[in-house]
């Protein structure tokens, strides 16, 4: 918790890894930080957001990772220690600048924390970001847990200043989303004061002949760092009694230690923490004495291939167990059972483990379970928007193609079964890709394209695509889902939110941008007025040329937080089951997690003596967020003049907003 992150008297604290990373940066006297949120590192941003004022840290939630990297690089050039954190795919966006920084180097300590996401917990690809380090000649450290993550952030600042380069601390989701007891060291903060960029007398320009000159210097820098890393405290060898050894890095180190304990074996283990440049001599001396080595690393066989290259020169007989040998997979993340299986096979010759039986038995018990896929929250504006859109495209499904993008609305893909007319699983590539791919499909195919994009994604990577659409008069509908916040990653502010860390932020208005670009056809909808949005969708579907629909309504979680700040409560709705006609419209068309079907058959006779029997719907007052859209959809409720005759009514009691929001 925050109190521990900033504690000045505790010697240790239970910290979430992303908090430990912040603590490491605080202890290193970081002065400027910049981010674009992304799981699994969003909480680094969130933690700084709460403490930056207190410590005089200048913080920006930038429009995207490239801009954020340029900010921290500039801060380093200007003479301040700086830090940035981003998810793996964020570095793809920032990579143009990133590679140049390898050449130019930097000045004051500058640390890049980037996190890969094996298993794609919340990413579009299982990318192995370690290749960025190799390709850019930028040094990289890889922690095994929160304690080491904090130490490495501190060491990274020192290495960065000593060698005048950006330094990477590379994590994975399982590292970032771990908590443990972390030692705290003194904060030793100094006052912030601006220096002089000119006083350092350094140049950061690279092109042509200058780049060729810098390349040679960069290689020389890499070699000097390699010598230092040979003796790094982050690499360690535990001696063992066997001729089969283990080479491991990252979170897998923990699995290896525990599996060795379980099997009561004592192989020599080389744990690597400096993974670029690799400590070649250390690895060579380790494998020199072995008959066999098991390389345990998630994703690509990266270390494994390096070990093979080294073995060619010094130990030709060495057998390498890893992914190439078929023992480990390049897919998904590891755990104890996966490592256990390979180790039992190698060390005892057995091919099966009891873990397989446990899972099999559990599967047999779990066949009754329904899936629980992440869905739009109760009160989510996207549910209202997609309800209206699904009505509008009804009957035209074959003539329309919706192009998805990155954000909460990505969940359309997971929930395709409940939004069958939208086909939200057709295309989803990367931030802002909806605009370019939508344009391309509209050139190639006859379907009317609806490119969906959120407000934060619009600012992040949407602007070039929007200019392109307007300039080329693409025949396309751009549906901007403006919930005024970067919702998926935990509701961080963005340029459209209107207020930020300090009062000196300028709210950027999306429709002003669109008008400035030259869009003529701009429709602005209040998405919670769901029925009245349908005609505008219908009209847009008939238009030729570019049309933009801004579907506006605040993120439910964000609005709940604001309600709590304003001292307001949530006003839920409820179903009057005595008069519910059991038509199931509120469930069939809306799919709100707060609405379920009752288990008891009920009967109702209306004024015309018509009988209505069946299972009525039920709104959970604990879950309902009070958006009221179900009461608009209900054919037996008049939301414009509410009365006793309405089936969906306002609930008698309000409730508090969750305090953990």
């Amino acid at each position: 918790m925050i109190a521990d992150v900033i504690s000045t008297n505790k010697k240790t604290a239970f910290l979430f890894c992303n908090e430990a990373i912040v603590r490491g940066a605080l202890e290193s006297d970081v002065k400027i930080v910049a981010f674009y949120p992304g799981s699994p590192v969003s909480e680094i941003l969130d933690t700084f957001y709460q403490i930056s004022d207190k410590f005089g840290i200048k913080m920006e939630i930038a429009t995207n990772e490239k801009v954020a990297l340029e900010i921290v690089a500039g801060a380093s050039m200007g003479g301040q220690r700086s830090l940035i954190a981003m998810k793996s795919v964020g570095l793809n966006v920032a990579s143009d600048t990133f590679f140049s920084l390898g050449y130019t180097g930097l000045n004051k300590g500058c640390v890049l924390v980037f996190a890969d996401d094996p298993y794609c917990h919340s990413s579009q690809s299982e990318e192995d970001g370690r290749f960025f380090a190799y390709n850019s000649y930028i040094p990289m450290l890889e922690p095994t847990d929160p304690v080491e993550a904090k130490s490495m952030v501190k060491a990274a600042f020192e290495i960065s200043e000593k060698y005048q380069t950006l330094v990477i601390v590379r994590t994975t989701t399982r590292i970032n989303h771990q908590s443990t007891i972390v030692p705290l060291e003194p904060l030793n903060r100094t006052e912030f004061s601006k220096g002089s960029f000119r006083s350092f007398n350094k140049k950061y320009a690279t092109v042509g002949s200058k780049a060729r000159e810098l390349k040679l210097k960069m290689l020389e820098r890499r070699d000097r760092i390699a010598i230092e890393f040979e003796n790094s405290e982050f690499n360690s060898i535990s001696e063992g009694s066997l001729k089969t050894g283990v080479i491991v890095s990252g979170v897998s180190y923990n699995y290896v230690l525990e599996v060795c304990n379980k099997l009561d074996i004592n192989p020599p283990i080389l744990k690597l923490g400096t993974t670029y440049p690799l400590p070649i001599k250390l690895i060579s001396s380790f494998i020199n004495k072995l008959d066999r080595v098991i390389v345990v690393e998630e994703l690509s066989p990266h270390l494994e291939r390096q070990v093979k290259v080294l073995a060619k020169d010094i130990n030709l007989q060495l057998e390498v167990i890893g992914k190439d040998s078929g023992h480990f997979s390049e897919a998904f993340e590891y755990n104890i059972p996966i490592v256990f299986k390979v180790f039992t096979q190698i060390f005892s010759g057995k091919k099966t483990t009891h873990y397989g039986d446990i899972v099999k038995k559990a599967e047999e018990l779990k066949f009754i379970l329904p899936v629980r896929i992440p869905v739009f929250c109760p009160g989510c504006p996207h549910r209202a928007t997609f309800w209206a859109l699904q009505r509008a495209v009804s009957g035209k499904t074959s003539e329309v193609a919706l192009i998805n993008d990155i954000g909460c609305y990505s969940m359309l893909l997971l929930n395709n079964k409940i939004y069958p007319k939208l086909n939200g699983d057709d295309v989803l590539l990367s931030m802002g890709a909806t605009l370019g791919t939508g344009s391309g499909i509209s050139l190639a195919a006859k379907e009317k394209i609806i490119s969906v994009i959120g407000d934060s994604t619009f600012f992040h990577a949407g602007l070039p695509g929007m200019v392109n659409i307007c300039h080329n008069n693409e025949d396309i509908i751009v549906l901007i889902l403006d919930n005024s916040i970067t919702a998926m990653t935990g509701q961080q502010i963005n340029p459209g939110t209107g207020y930020g860390l300090a009062d000196n932020k300028t709210k950027i208005n999306i429709e002003d941008i669109l008008r400035g670009i030259g869009f003529k056809n701009i429709i602005i909808n209040d998405c919670f007025d769901a029925k009245n949005c349908i005609p505008s969708f219908n009209k847009a579907l008939e238009e030729k040329g570019p049309t933009v629909i801004i579907s506006r309504g605040p993120c439910a979680l964000w609005e709940d937080r604001n309600k709590r700040k304003r001292g307001e409560k949530i006003q839920p709705f409820f179903v009057d089951q005595k008069i519910c006609r059991k038509c199931h419209t509120c469930m069939r068309d809306f799919y709100c997690p707060a609405i379920s079907m009752d288990n008891q058959v009920m009967h109702f006779t209306d004024d015309n003596e018509k009988e209505w029997s069946g299972f009525s719907s039920h709104i959970s007052p604990k879950l309902c967020d009070g958006c009221g859209v179900c009461s608009i959809i209900c054919p037996y409720t008049n939301h414009e003049a509410r009365s006793e005759k309405d089936v969906i009514k306002i609930y008698e009691k309000k409730r508090e907003v969750r305090h953990d929001l």
């Binding site: 525990e258 409940i418 799919y591």
Partner: protein, 200 residues
């Protein structure tokens, strides 16, 4: 000795507070702990879990299958979903509460013959792994505290009384005020105590 606890529920139920309380208590009372949590996408009313491992000889943040001493379920369907982590005859503390996923409602709307699961059906499956199942009316008890959002603390209170749990009620009572917002301290303490007392 290692104590492994698997907790699970639905995004938005306040599961993270439980592992946070345990973690901060461990830090204050000198126990080693490591946890692995779900964040991000799954929090959107999805299935969520936390691995909690307490003891000297722990390395992996994840509990191996079949090695959790206890399974704390904030919701019945999710409790069964993580059953492979519980050791045979391990302890289950489960909320007597079911939050039907939207996907089940979808199936039911298509055909009302597709019934929802019941707590009884879940219990029948869980009983094939263990006989030690504490079904807690956490929602009802939480309402008695005046703050219905405290069912997580009710369940934690019930867990404290089970065999092997390495922290005492007093220790947790000491930690709660340091972690929850001031306004919610009393309700949370009351929930913890009621959960503890109600567990037979």
């Amino acid at each position: 000795m290692t104590y492994n606890l698997m907790t699970c529920g639905v995004g938005g139920q306040g599961l993270m507070l439980v592992s946070n309380l345990i973690g901060i208590a461990c830090a204050d009372f000198g126990l080693n702990i490591r946890t692995a949590e779900t964040h991000g996408l799954a929090q959107r009313s999805g299935s969520i879990y936390t691995h909690v491992r307490i003891g000297e000889e722990i390395y992996s943040p994840l509990i191996p299958y079949g090695e959790a001493d206890a399974l704390l379920g904030m919701e019945a369907i999710e409790t069964l979903r993580y059953i492979e982590f519980l050791k045979p005859d391990g302890v289950i503390v489960m909320n007597n509460y079911m939050w039907h996923p939207v996907q089940s409602t979808f199936d039911r709307v298509q055909d009302v013959a597709n019934t929802y699961l019941s707590i009884k059906m879940i219990m029948a499956q869980l009983e094939k792994i263990t006989k030690t199942i504490h079904l807690v009316n956490a929602t009802e008890i939480a309402n008695q505290t005046g703050n219905p959002l405290t069912s997580n603390l009710v369940l934690l209170g019930a867990l404290v009384k089970t065999e092997g749990f390495p922290l005492s009620l007093n220790q947790l009572q000491e930690i709660v005020p340091k972690v929850v917002p001031e306004k919610a301290i009393n309700a949370n303490l009351k929930a913890l105590l009621l959960g503890y007392e109600n567990r037979k």
